[in-house]
Amino acid sequence: MIEPKEGSLGSPNTPTGVPTTHQILTGWGRTAPSSAEVARPSKPEEVRQVLAAAASQGRAVVARGLARSYGDAAQSAGGVVLETTAMDGVYDSDLEAGWVRVGAGLSLDALMRLLVPRGWWVPVTPGTRYVTVGGAIAADIHGKNHHRDGSFCSHVMSLTLATPTETREITPEGDAELFWATAGGMGLTGVVLEATIRLLRVESAYMLVDTERATDLEDAMARMTARDDEYRYSVAWIDCLARGRRLGRAVLTRAEHADLASLSGSCATDPLAFDPRVLLDVPLTPPGGLLNPLTVAAFNEMWYRKAPRWQPRKPETLASYFHPLDALGSWNRLYGPRGFIQYQFVVPFDAEDALRIALERVSGARTASFLTVLKRFGEANPGPLSFPSSGWTLALDIPTGSPGLGGMLDELDVVVAEAGGRVYLAKDSRLRPELLGAMYPRLGEWREVRDRVDPDCRLVSDLARRLGLVEPAVAPRQPRLRRRSRPRSTAGAHR
């Protein structure tokens, strides 16, 4: 990275400038770099100072947590980026009733290390612990239990939001519009300062995992449909390079939190011990990357064969079941200097053909997706920009160097939109902006709420500019889409 330069963000009139460093920023996919002045406030007053200073200089602002969005959501070219990680206090908790009030810059990793030994778990966790609470809210993250427990913001009791005009605490009951616009709002309604989160009681730091193999996509979907409701957590790893009869062959791992009675041996002596380690860090970026169709095909074959056809109730640690990649620090470097794209979409349950088409295209293009994951989502929450909605969700990691990648993903965008689905903005780095309205039909509603709290368009990220989230994209050409005749599900839509 380029040496950050010390700077200061202040006008001649403010005696105390807010210290900033000039940095080039990317998302986790290490693509589309842009530079900004990065400030790192440690208290709410400093956040207000940064917002005011940026406004006086006519610069855009956006918050940045641990930068795990894959694309350009947490950066703002030529603007000010507000790193929240210093606002990581635990302000209040009730470990009988099961809630905590924490700073938005606190990572789920730190939170879990505090909570697990005390018998509590975060109700929704993504595949990495290294996201901030603020980021979890802005992306309205989901985990392997959406079909049972919904997304992160369904467990947020209240949050304090610093908009360009004011700072206030908002709740889903009292400020439904602003709360749900902030859920999945990609930081564009304001800076989350702190949040109160409801917790999940657990008896141990272990999971009981049922593993089974599925011979192809239909088999995987049938198994998930039949028995997902028997488990709190469910996910399928898909071999994205398998073709023909084996298209979509998968390993399903479904789990429950282990109760004390089911533990034995060393697990039973210290059931709530939780101290996951980073076992290996990728110290530099290998020039060509190490992940290509050959290495990935070899890995996939090994991974599929190694999985048992059926194995019930095997104890695993929380870290091993939920966050296996966290053991490998900076794994994103393995994709090489050109970085990678993460493509995640959801399509309704009766649009399995769209899912099949997507897998056929990816595997047909020999696009080496190192990690392809299939999950089922339950009902959406009231957030207009919140990604999860009832249906199948597939997530792919693809190196940017794959030939014809742009065209292939552009076609998939249309397949997804025509099926009544959408692409996840926290992962997006190249979506066709014209399709945003079709994928998020309540976009207009979201824009109205946003425009009220940020009338001067101070909160702008590269994602917002690229997709026209804040202002309409440069003269968008309206695409002609073939729509399914079945009406979109409106269950869960906010009234």
Binding site: T31, D72, S76, P433
Partner: protein, 253 residues
């Protein structure tokens, strides 16, 4: 904004009627390009190019009269373009003339004119646009250089020298822009069949504007520092550069 695959939503072309530039814009129209400004001398030709690009689905295409040799015009142009487009994602420097080597060798004014159009003017314009990219914190400058500048030939050294100078300038500017988040891509095509080379015999490994445009777009996807077109020229010139003069002067083309 440029996306993760290096695809721009907005672009300004300096030398807006260039055949290669037109092919690049055509290729980008199929991706994310929605707003283009074409800057050049011939307003009628610019308008024709604009019409063609609009028909390809680029929603907004504007033509601005601009003379590369007018030192005073560059800052105003850059600011005008930034005002019209918001973010300037791509600046394509495609202005240049082949010049007449024979005429130049007996006419200092003609020589100065070629160097002004091909080197001094574009370099000054690049400085103006670099200011915009610096302030923006993102963006890409694509500069049409040439293999003729990699090692000059007796047969066209005025043109070759102007490209050699522009190439070196672009390399320096690339380093200067590194900390800003913006980048520079230098394009070194071989002999291309365009209106600029019309009527002349093609050199070995001749190529077309479409092929060069495809290479440039692939270069954008890779955020490449240098694009050779065709790619095999890179290896070839690594060798040709090292030939002793007595051999180099015998190489055809």
């Amino acid at each position: 904004m440029n996306d993760a695959l290096g695809m721009p939503q907005t672009a300004v072309v300096l030398g807006g009627t260039s055949d290669i530039a037109r092919s690049v814009m055509r290729g980008l129209a199929a991706r994310r390009l929605r707003h283009v400004v074409l800057a050049g001398r011939d307003q009628t030709e610019l308008e024709d190019t604009a019409k063609e690009l609009r028909a390809l689905g680029i929603a907004s295409v504007e033509a601005i009269t601009w003379d590369a040799t007018d030192d005073e015009a560059h800052t105003a142009l850059a600011q005008d373009v930034a005002g019209r487009m918001g973010q300037v994602d791509l600046v394509l420097v495609a202005v240049g003339v082949l010049g007449d080597q024979e005429v130049c060798e007996s006419d200092p004014g003609a020589t100065a004119s070629v160097l002004s159009t091909n080197l001094t003017g574009p370099a000054a314009a690049m400085v103006a646009f670099a200011q915009i990219l610096r302030r923006q914190g993102q963006g890409r400058l694509v500069v049409m250089s040439s293999v003729a500048g990699v090692r000059v030939r007796r047969a066209n050294f005025v043109y070759g020298a102007s490209k050699a100078g522009l190439d070196a300038f672009a390399q320096g500017l690339a380093e200067a822009l590194r900390p800003t988040g913006a980048g520079v891509t230098i394009v070194r095509p071989g002999w291309v069949a365009t209106r600029m080379t019309a009527g002349r015999p093609p050199a070995p490994m001749a190529t077309t504007p479409e092929a060069v445009a495809a290479d440039i777009i692939r270069g954008l996807e890779r955020r490449a520092d240098v694009v050779w077109s065709p790619a095999s020229l890179k290896m070839l010139f690594a060798v040709l550069r090292l030939l002793p003069k007595s051999v180099w002067r015998l190489v055809p083309g």
